[in-house]
Amino acid sequence: MEDRTALNRQLAQMLKGGVIMDVTTPEQARIAEAAGACAVMALERIPADIRAAGGVSRMSDPKMIKGIQEAVSIPVMAKCRIGHFAEAQILEAIEIDYIDESEVLSPADDVYHIDKRQFKVPFVCGAKDLGEALRRISEGATMIRTKGEPGTGDVVQAVRHMRMMQSEIRRITSLCADELYEAAKQLRVPFELVQYVHDNGRLPVVNFAAGGVATPADAALMMQLGAEGVFVGSGIFKSGNPEKRAQAIVKAVTNYNNPKILAELSEDLGEAMVGINEDEIQLLMAERGK
């Protein structure tokens, strides 16, 4: 029997060491692909604009997503609301490569996430800590990303979430076998997943950084903290020179451990996204869907 979960986890493995960029038009998608993005996230409004506009934020128009699928040859992802399995069915029907069940959009269900195992198409989900990550994996997510705080240009929350996940993973690996049952209980996740983390020192799926990444240095920071790749949302197309910044962030992810190359990449990028600090915002998207 064909194992879709394995194939979907494996697509995420192919994205590693890469940058997934938010795009709102075919033109932006082409710029992202040419800059070296390993995938694009098609959405009507980037998170900074969703935040500014307020109101209920929903899945994008399938026609707009199809336009982006036609414009590029790299994988195309799109977001559905937390718990909105009908939006997910629609995205599967247009053969999206990855669905992001995302806290950036307004949640459709305040109790249940989507039963992602009912789908052939893969899902990526956000997480703030190990418990959230393993609960999403248990529901069928085949890729995890930090939630960060989308649309802010402030990396502090992505850092907090990645550090939290990594430190909890290290703690689990140090437990002895009989302590794992209690850990599973505390994390509110299946024992088998805790055992996997204990034995392998990592999540069973690829783990990217997302939320607030705006510069090559931000991307390098997240990679050094253990991210396997980076999502960049508002940080690129809200900056002075999107093309140049996109290329620089791509190369920063490849050479995240080489300060000399990072210094060159950080030169002359023009204006970065202005951003807002976390204590200046009203709505914490990261608190959606636990």
Binding site: L7, Q10, M14, G18, A35, E95
Partner: protein, 182 residues
């Protein structure tokens, strides 16, 4: 024997694990300085060929890699790595690849089929290409449903699928190491 693994983007760590388990010494190439180290072979992993192309060009790796392969450096390309060697990219192999030949992610699949000189092998195809044209110098090593999915031209070996994703079966990597030594 030192095997260089191109680590610009994609699933390079998976190749590294398989090759190290087979006793090969490996190192990752992320920039021009890494490339200057001594090596006996190169692996180009799966990932996105558009991303690899961009990074290779910007980091001044394109021409050195192309000429080293053209001058005989053994190379193993899987999926995007296969595409990188075709006549529309580095052009060191006389093949034409068709990208995303099986469609989007819903077209990704697993199968088992025969590989010349090895027998039945596990094959994982992820948004995979196939080879739509092979030149005279190229030996076809495997076909799946009539499509060429593995081939060799002297010391250049390519697979449209990912042997590094089924690490319990290392025969194709062993085949490559034999090719490097031979």
């Amino acid at each position: 024997m030192k095997i260089a693994i191109l680590a610009l983007q994609g699933a390079f760590a998976e190749h590294q694990i398989v090759l190290e388990n087979l006793g090969a010494e490996t190192f990752l190439i992320r920039n021009r300085e890494d490339w200057n180290l001594e090596k006996h072979a190169l692996v180009i992993p799966g990932g996105e060929s558009t991303a690899m192309t961009r990074i290779m060009r910007d980091l001044n790796l394109w021409e050195p890699i192309r000429s080293a392969i053209a001058e005989g450096l053994p190379v193993f390309g899987t999926c995007a790595g296969l595409i990188m060697l075709d006549d529309k990219h580095l052009g060191t192999m006389d093949i034409t690849a068709q990208r995303n030949a099986y469609g989007r992610q819903l077209g990704s699949f697993y199968t088992e089929d025969s590989f010349e000189g090895i027998g039945m092998v596990p094959m994982t195809f992820i948004r995979a290409p196939f080879i739509e044209r092979v030149g005279k110098e190229v030996e076809v090593l495997s076909t799946v449903a009539g499509r060429v999915v593995a081939a060799r031209q002297k010391k250049q070996l390519v697979c449209a699928f990912h042997p590094e994703l089924t690490p319990s079966d290392t025969r194709i990597h062993e085949y490559f190491l034999t090719l490097v030594q031979g």
